[in-house]
Symmetry: C2
Subunit: 133 residues, 2 copies
DNA sequence: TTTTTAAGTGCAACAATGTTGCAATAAATA
DNA sequence: TATTTATTGCAACATTGTTGCACTTAAAAA
């Protein structure tokens, strides 16, 4: 996790390491508000810039759901500035409201007449492993 | 289109009719900035409240793509406050950048062990009918 | 390791976006 | 038409995100 910053060719500062460590402690996507809560003290602007560069460099990716706060989760290693290479869906649990990145082996494909589909992004809602009892 | 407001049980005001007419003139999703451009003069707050109630009542739905302005498109008749009943995907063209609501007859389904999936939302990117030549 | 260079941080100030209370106004209902 | 109810516009505010610039820190070179 630590060498991720070096791998992505951005300076390894204490603040960035700390933010990255927070993401690492969760195995689901988290909103900025949680990052802020976990940081004892921080500069609002620096945090914005950190999130921005993490997104640009493919360190994290953003999950947006209409009417809700954006969530962020660490990317796969292969992601970069130009493209994200995820083979997962974003699953939001209706009960615990946690958003998970769920790996999926056979990604569905759809065809639309006259359209050329290059990429699919899937968001699912329902009950997660813990809540589906 | 006009009686849509009555059907959804909200007051039929000149402003609301005008905003609804703008959505009706497009056959794709549009951002707030286009609505604003089409309105000769308008009150910013009233527009926000109009969009908000349209969303709540299931008159329009919101399409959010990470890092981009939200887009809005008219809903199917069956949509309501509690649930949207769309059988379509959101397709964003890489070239013209327009976002379309594309009807799809066989909606894909996915299964995840231990998860209970209740709803899927799909966003696709590629080339639209016009740009795919 | 020290020096040089490049990048990151924090402050101030600003811009954009969204919200709320309240009085005036308009729409729906009786 | 009169009454009730909902909508609108204003002012003021809250939140979110951005930019320029000086200062500090990290990385690279010597
Ligand atoms: Zn859950
Ligand atoms: Zn993800
Ligand atoms: Zn196109
Ligand atoms: Zn749609």
């Amino acid at each position: 996790m630590t060498n991720l910053l070096k791998n992505k060719k951005i300076s390894e500062t204490p603040f960035r390491k700390e933010v990255l460590a927070i993401f690492g402690r969760y195995n689901n996507a988290i909103p900025l508000s949680i990052v802020e809560k976990e940081l004892k003290e921080y500069n609002r602007i620096t945090l914005y810039r950190t999130i921005k560069i993490f997104l640009e460099k493919g360190i994290i990716h953003e999950i947006t759901i209409s009417g809700e706060e954006s969530n962020y989760a660490v990317c796969q290693e292969e992601c970069n500035t130009d493209a994200h290479h995820h083979q997962h869906i974003h699953f939001k649990c209706k009960k615990c409201e946690i958003i998970y990145c769920v790996e999926i082996n056979k990604f569905p494909s759809i065809a639309l007449p006259n359209y050329k589909i290059e990429q699919l992004e899937i968001q699912a809602t329902g009950l997660c492993q813990s809540c589906n009892v």
